[in-house]
């Protein structure tokens, strides 16, 4: 019998939480805003949102005091953590927006600018198809993107899904129980809800 999922949304002043909480409530039992380590302890899953500049978001998370508790809980504790958009990018070692700045280093790799052209304009905005590898293959489909930078994982084994915009780039990463998606599942209607439902219900993720 599956235990009820409580999804912690990390609230570190990184913008739009409303849609995210709403989407998670549509697929999960309960959603909790997480501001302290105590809040995190009550959760079975965590979601790390992110809007704006990479460096700004990493600083914001550090200032909130949640970096070490999250590392303890998710990385060492092997609990499911999902970074979304800049929340995914933050998982990297390094980001190249406004010069190099350090990320959380939980999934090896670096974040660099998407190469732009007239036929592949940047920011990459709109619906694009994501091809997932196992176990997320059936979740492949069109998702909503809005970004100028992308994650280059150091190890191909950590790439969970790709999309193409001029070049093929990494749309999702996974290392153990830590995941990141470049697209916005909370803005991707049915496809996004299906992905979030998998994240919340996957036994495989919880047994990492």
């Amino acid at each position: 019998m599956a235990t009820l999922a409580t999804i912690g949304v990390i609230d570190y002043a990184a913008g739009n939480l409303r849609s995210l909480c709403n989407a998670l409530e549509a697929v999960a039992a309960s959603v909790k805003l997480v501001r302290t380590p105590e809040d995190l302890r009550e959760c079975s899953h965590a979601v790390l949102p992110g809007v704006g500049a990479f460096g700004h978001c990493v600083d914001g998370l550090r200032r909130s005091g949640m970096v070490n508790p999250l590392a303890e809980w998710a990385v060492h504790g092997n609990r499911p953590l999902l970074g979304i958009c800049v929340g995914m990018q933050m998982l990297a070692d390094l980001g190249e927006e406004y010069g190099e700045s350090p990320g959380l280093g939980w999934v090896p790799g670096r974040v660099s600018r998407l190469p732009a052209s007239r036929s592949a304009r940047v920011p990459h905005v709109g619906w694009n198809d994501v091809r997932f590898g196992p176990p997320c293959g059936p979740l492949s489909g069109d998702f909503y993107f809005d970004h100028s930078f992308r994650f280059c994982p150091a190890e191909s084994a950590h790439s969970l899904g790709t999309a193409t915009h001029g070049i093929e780039f990494c749309a999702a990463v996974r290392k153990g129980s830590v995941l990141g998606v470049q697209f916005h599942p909370e803005k991707s209607q049915e496809a996004g809800l299906r992905f979030l439902r998998w994240f919340v219900e996957s036994r495989e993720l919880r047994n990492c």
């Binding site: 913008g15 739009n16 939480l17 409303r18 849609s19 709403n22 989407a23 549509a26 809007v51 704006g52 500049a53 700004h56 800049v86 732009a116 052209s117 007239r118 592949a120 304009r121 940047v122 920011p123 990459h124 905005v125 709109g126 619906w127 694009n128 198809d129 489909g141 069109d142 909503y144 993107f145 809005d146 970004h147 100028s148 193409t164 915009h165 916005h184 909370e186 803005k187 991707s188 209607q189 049915e190 496809a191 996004g192 809800l193």
Partner: protein, 262 residues
């Protein structure tokens, strides 16, 4: 590959009646409010059910958006009741307004008159929130072969050429251009493909064309002839037996890559 987008425009205007003061949705003609067509949350839910790619929510009441508490509540309600991207604009004056709107649920913020008066607003917003959040909204009229940018809901001429201004705004950090031909607005006569193509050619960021869609062909023309990444339409979906699902089929049948499934 990245699909092109169909974006319904929701124009919000405050009304007072026996029901009290509330926001209604209107269509416009040449930017003048023409007809009340519904209520914002109801229409947003409908567009979502009809698989619109995203929504453009534009406030046409005067005054700064930060003082319009009812609008902020409406945005919050929209973000709570739908799972689709929202671009919000109309009276955005300061970079702090971005934070206000993003925290209420907007994904992108459109700036228009304030940016034309004070272009440093663009770079400030892009630096703080990222170019992907910043949409430069440009309205223009054409007279005797010359196009000119107008601000303040089409009432104040600027002397600027829309193509030049688009180029400058993007240089300063805008991540997307929302272009609207004021004279064609609500006319049903078709988009301004000429200026649309020139702007699409002048910038490296996505371009959203709007103003004048009346037939499904106009949407197709915007994509194929002007090279638009997205087409925004207000009147087209409100006053005709049309909806985004029908429109997307028509566009797909013309060979334009557009999202089809759920």
């Amino acid at each position: 590959m990245l699909k092109r987008r169909l974006i319904p425009k929701l124009l919000l205007l405050s009304q007072t009646s026996g029901e009290g003061r509330r926001h209604t949705l209107v269509t416009t003609r040449g930017f003048s409010p023409a007809k009340v067509v519904g209520s914002p949350v109801s229409q947003a839910k409908i567009y979502e059910a009809q698989l619109a790619d995203e929504l453009a929510v534009l406030r046409i009441d005067p005054g700064p958006i930060s003082e319009d508490l009812r609008l902020l509540d409406t945005i919050e309600r929209l973000a709570t009741e739908t799972f689709m991207p929202l671009t919000v604009g109309g009276g955005v004056v300061f970079a702090d307004d971005f934070h206000l709107l993003l925290s209420r649920g907007a994904d992108k913020v459109a700036i228009n008159s304030a940016a034309a008066r004070n272009p440093t607003l663009i770079s400030e917003a892009a630096a703080r929130f990222g170019a992907q959040c910043v949409v430069i909204s440009i309205d223009f009229r054409t007279s005797m072969g010359r196009s000119e940018v107008f601000i303040d809901r089409g009432s104040t001429p600027t002397g600027m050429d829309p193509v030049d201004w688009a180029r400058e705004a993007v240089r300063r950090g805008a991540g997307e251009v929302l272009l609207c031909d004021i004279d064609r607005d609500g006319s049903g006569e078709g988009l301004n493909l000429d200026i649309g193509a020139q702007v699409a050619d002048a910038v490296d960021v996505p371009v959203i064309l709007s103003g004048g869609c009346g037939r499904a062909e106009h949407l197709v023309e915007g994509f194929l002839e002007a090279g638009a990444d997205a087409v925004a339409a207000g009147t087209y979906f409100c006053l005709r037996d049309q909806n985004p699902l029908q429109a997307r089929s028509h566009v797909a049948n013309a060979g334009v890559p557009i999202r089809m499934g759920t």
